[in-house]
C-alpha cells in the first residue's frame, strides 16, 4: 500500500509534502553510501524509540551527562556507539560536544557512518514531528531494500572547521547548483555524505523553502504562511531547541 496517504487527516495535506515524504521513505529504505538498507531503517526505528528511552530521559534532566550511566532502550539492533549517537541527537542535541563524538569514533564508529546515520535520523524526525504537530499517527517505517552501500568518499574534504570533515564551500556550492558562490556551513554539514544533503534539501524545499527562495526575504513560495510567519516559526523552534546556529 502507498505510504503517506493522509485520507483520515482533518487538515488537507499538500500533495508535494506527501510526495516528498514518500521519497524520503524510499531513500531511507535503500542502501546508502556507508550503511545498508536494514541498518538505515534500524536508525530510523532508533530515532523513534529514543523519545521514550529511560536513559535519555534521565540524561535530559541531569546537570552533568557524565554522571548518568546505563544502557539505551532498544540496545542490540545497532552497534552501541551508533545507538548512542542517534539517541543523543534525537533527545539532547544542544548538549552534544566534540569530545563525546571523538569518543564514539574511538569505539569504532566512522565519521562517514555517523554523518549518514545523522542524515537518516533527522529526516525521520522531521517527518515524525510534522505528523505529531498535526495529531497524525507516525507512518509505519519502510521495509529495507536489498543491496550494498556505494562507499564513495567525496574529494576535496576540509578538516577542522567542524567535528566532521566537510566539502570545500565553493566546490560544494557548485556541485549542488546553489545560487551563491560558497555553500554555507549548514548545507556543508553533512557533505561528507552528499546524498544525505540532497535528501534533506528535498524535504526542506517543501517543509520550508527551496534554496533559490531563501535569499529572497519577501518570498514564501506558494505557502499559506507569509515569510515573516515562516521565520517566526523557524526561529521559535530553533530557540526551543537551544540551537545557536
Amino acid at each position: 500500500m502507498q505510504a503517506f496517504r493522509y485520507e483520515s487527516s482533518p487538515d488537507p495535506i499538500r500533495p508535494d509534502l506527501a510526495e516528498a515524504y514518500r521519497g524520503a521513505w524510499e531513500h531511507i529504505a535503500s542502501p546508502g553510501t556507508w550503511l545498508d538498507g536494514a541498518t538505515r531503517v534500524a536508525v530510523a526505528d532508533a530515532t523513534r524509540r529514543a523519545r521514550d528511552c529511560a536513559l535519555c530521559q534521565r540524561r535530559r534532566e541531569a546537570l552533568s551527562l557524565v554522571a548518568v550511566k546505563g544502557e539505551h532502550d532498544g540496545a542490540g539492533a545497532l552497534a552501541p556507539p551508533l545507538l548512542d549517537a542517534i539517541h543523543r541527537i534525537t533527545t539532547n542535541a544542544a548538549r552534544l560536544g566534540e569530545p563525546w563524538l571523538r569518543g564514539l569514533f574511538e569505539q569504532g564508529l566512522t565519521a562517514e557512518e555517523y554523518v549518514e546515520a545523522l542524515g537518516v535520523a533527522v529526516q525521520t524526525l522531521s517527518i515524525d514531528r510534522f505528523h505529531h504537530a498535526l495529531g497524525l499517527p507516525p507512518e509505519p517505517l519502510p521495509e529495507p531494500r536489498p543491496g550494498t552501500p556505494s562507499r564513495v568518499r567525496p574529494e576535496g574534504l576540509v578538516e577542522g572547521e567542524a567535528w566532521v570533515p566537510l566539502q570545500d564551500a565553493r566546490r560544494f556550492a557548485s556541485e549542488l547548483g546553489l545560487p551563491v558562490g560558497r555553500a554555507p556551513y549548514v548545507i556543508r554539514a553533512l557533505s561528507l555524505v552528499p546524498d544525505e544533503v540532497r535528501a534533506w534539501q528535498r524535504l526542506s524545499a517543501v517543509q520550508y523553502l527551496a534554496p533559490a527562495q531563501m535569499l529572497r526575504f519577501g518570498a514564501s513560495g506558494a505557502r499559506a504562511l507569509d515569510r515573516s510567519q515562516i521565520e517566526l516559526m523557524a526561529g521559535r523552534v530553533s530557540a526551543l531547541n537551544e540551537c545557536f546556529y
Binding site: 510534522f130 567535528w163 504562511l225 526551543l240 546556529y245
Partner: protein, 147 residues
Amino acid sequence: MLRASIQSKGAEADLRGISKGAKAGDAGIAHGEKLARFAEAAVSGDPAELATARDALRDAAGSPALVDAAAVVGNFERMVRIADGTGIPLDGVVEALSGDFREELGLEGYASRRLLGTGAIARALAPLLRGAFRFGLGLAGRRAGSR
C-alpha cells in the same frame, strides 16, 4: 531571517517572538502568538496543549496555514540537529550580521554556541554591513511591492 523578512517590507523587526514566544503576543506578525504557541506545543507541549494550540491556529488562520506551520516545525527540528550534531560554526557573514541581537535573544548562553571569531576589523565593520544589508532589503522589498 525573521529580521530580514520584516525589514524587506520596510518595517521594524520585533524579535521577541523568537525568545519569548507566545508571551510576546503577535510581535507585529499576523497570528504571531498562535503560531508561537503552536511551535512551543509541538516541540515540548503535552498532547492537550498541542491539540488546543492546533485548534486555535486552525480557527484563526485556516487548515493550509496550520499544515505549513507543522511543516516548518518538522523542518527546523531537523536543521537544529544537523547543526548541533556536526559542530558547525556560524558563517562569518551571519556572525557579523547577528552580533547586535544574539545577546538580546539569549543565544550567547547556549551550550551549542560556536563562533568563527570574525576578528576586530569585521566587528568594526559589522554595523556598516548591517546598514547596507538593511538598505538592500528595503530596496528589494520596494521593488517587489511596485511590481
